[in-house]
């Protein structure tokens, strides 16, 4: 594709492109590198380095021990796990049922209800958080898992995504199932879900990421450390844990918290990226 005459200049261009891309890669990776590096430095060696070293002279795991002992990191972790699993599971059930009703069943008022759903998609979370906070407080659900989970369940965007996918399944399959005497629920579980598995997986992963990184709602609804999620835990550690300046221990906690999602991402890289491309926006 490259003609001889321009090959010299195009080679320079190519080199420039790689340099640009590498610079950005460094910008992206450097914080991760720094976080891992610092987590392996001992408290004393970290504080004695006026000019920080780019490697750990004698790496130590003591920070990780501190992270799990000095602050209830394991508790935060467990809480987040429970929150993520339950929220995602309930969300899936609710979403799949609603998407099925919209895509496959005929009922009066369907279009109106769906239009209502779509218009709710434009409502920013900030508007409804205030009342939800009051509601959950009134229900005496502060510092409970129910209080954390209930308002995080409904996700109109995922209903929409699944409904679109469900509708691509040809009508004939439904009719064939009806002729065979399959019930609606059985058809949904045995036919539609398996066919739409990729979308279901995508939705699940996106919701897991969302839950794992949730900060605002958990912060509002929990002030008892026993119910903190990792994001609040980090904030708590930053402000009160480890005697403020123990940065290596802080970094160890941060590494532990970041690791699950990074691993999840490396495993499901393609799925996550294509899922996000289909309309997931952050925030």
């Amino acid at each position: 594709m490259i003609t001889d005459k321009s090959s010299a200049s195009s080679r320079i261009g190519k080199a420039a492109v790689y340099i640009l891309l590498s610079i950005w890669a460094v910008v992206v990776l450097f914080p991760f590198y720094w976080m891992v590096l610092t987590s392996f430095k001992s408290y004393s060696s970290y504080n004695s380095e006026f000019v920080p070293r780019f490697f750990a002279a004698d790496p130590t795991l003591s920070n990780y021990r501190d992270a799990f002992t000095a602050v209830p990191l394991a508790r935060y972790f467990l809480n987040t796990l429970i929150f993520t699993v339950v929220t995602t599971a309930v969300m899936l059930v609710v979403t799949v049922l609603a998407a099925f009703a919209f895509s496959r069943l005929e009922f009066r008022g369907k279009n109106i209800v769906f239009a209502l759903f779509l218009s709710l998609m434009m409502i920013p979370n900030e508007l409804v958080v205030i009342t939800n906070f009051v509601t959950i407080t009134d229900w005496d659900m502060r510092n409970t898992f129910q209080g954390l989970i209930l308002p995080s369940v409904a996700s109109i965007f995922y209903i929409y995504l699944l409904k679109e996918n469900f509708e691509q399944i040809p009508d004939e399959l439904y009719k064939a199932a009806k002729v065979d005497g399959t019930s609606d629920l059985k058809y949904l579980l045995r036919v539609m879900l398996p066919i739409c598995r990729p979308t279901v997986v995508t939705v699940t992963i996106l919701k897991v990421i969302e839950c794992w990184n949730a900060y605002v709602w958990p912060r509002l609804i929990t002030d008892d450390q026993a119910y903190f999620l990792v994001s609040n835990g980090i904030q708590e550690i930053r402000e009160n844990g480890f005697g403020r300046e123990n940065i290596p221990a802080m970094m160890a906690a941060v590494v532990v918290i970041s690791l699950p999602l990074v691993v999840l991402f490396l495993i499901f890289r393609k799925k996550i990226m294509s899922g996000v491309m289909r309309g997931g926006t952050k925030g």
Binding site: V17, P31, M35, E126, A154, V276, M277
Partner: protein, 296 residues
Amino acid sequence: MKKQNLKAWLYLLPALAFLAVFMIYPLVDVVVYSLEEGYNSASQTFRGVGLYNFSYVLRDPYFLAAVRNTFILVVITVPVSTGLALLISLGLNSIKALKNLFQTVYFLPYVTNTLAVGLVFMILFKKTAYSEGLVNLLINWFGGPSVDFIDGPYWAKMLVMCIYTVWVVMPFKILILTSALASVNPEYYKAARVDGASRGRIFWRITLPMISPMIFYLVITGFIGAFKAYADEVALFGTDLNAAGMNTIVGYVYDMLYGNSGGYPSYASAAALILFAIVFTITCVNLLISRRTQIS
């Protein structure tokens, strides 16, 4: 038909219940709150109905500071991140070797907890009694004076905030733009080369118009996202954003609702509605502009 109707509503029931309680009712309620003057959350009583909450919020210096911070953040980060993402995506699309690796690396910030990485940014930029922080050492190395980016001058704090925000939003933008660029039919480029179009002209006359819908999409979602900035700021400056002078509109809403300065759901509601009005207006303007440029 009746039975079918009933069954359909049964399937919809869970979703409808959740939405009614946690979205539709709050939506109405937030307006009610914002109109109730002198609401006391302990006794659940209020003095009267009117627009006092709005006028209070609009005169509150903390709110005005939050609005200013948010606007500066939006105006800087949206163009910078979109432009930078376009540059990087163009680069990504012109290479074959290592492309996958770069794409994977670039997407990494999307899946990380912004609170966690924010802490790392804070450490990199922070100046403490016994350490200048890595960024300051770099500045010194180039002969500049140290700056406390976390507790120092306003511009420095704003700079860190913008840098971190850009870092956080880039993965999504790079992902979208890379796929938009890749979906342009290569025949157009071949045709343009045979027609003798220069590289610059190919970019401005062909590539850019072809991906312009995606760019507008990114600008619109970028505006909305940046206006809702909050967690990233907490990560950098701690939960007391007012003290740091780095509060955002969303931060103001939460501060009014909860915490040391909290207990004023009416003010919070008014501020949230003002934010919604701003975002709504700007989105509409964006859509109008994008529609006009698409047509002409």
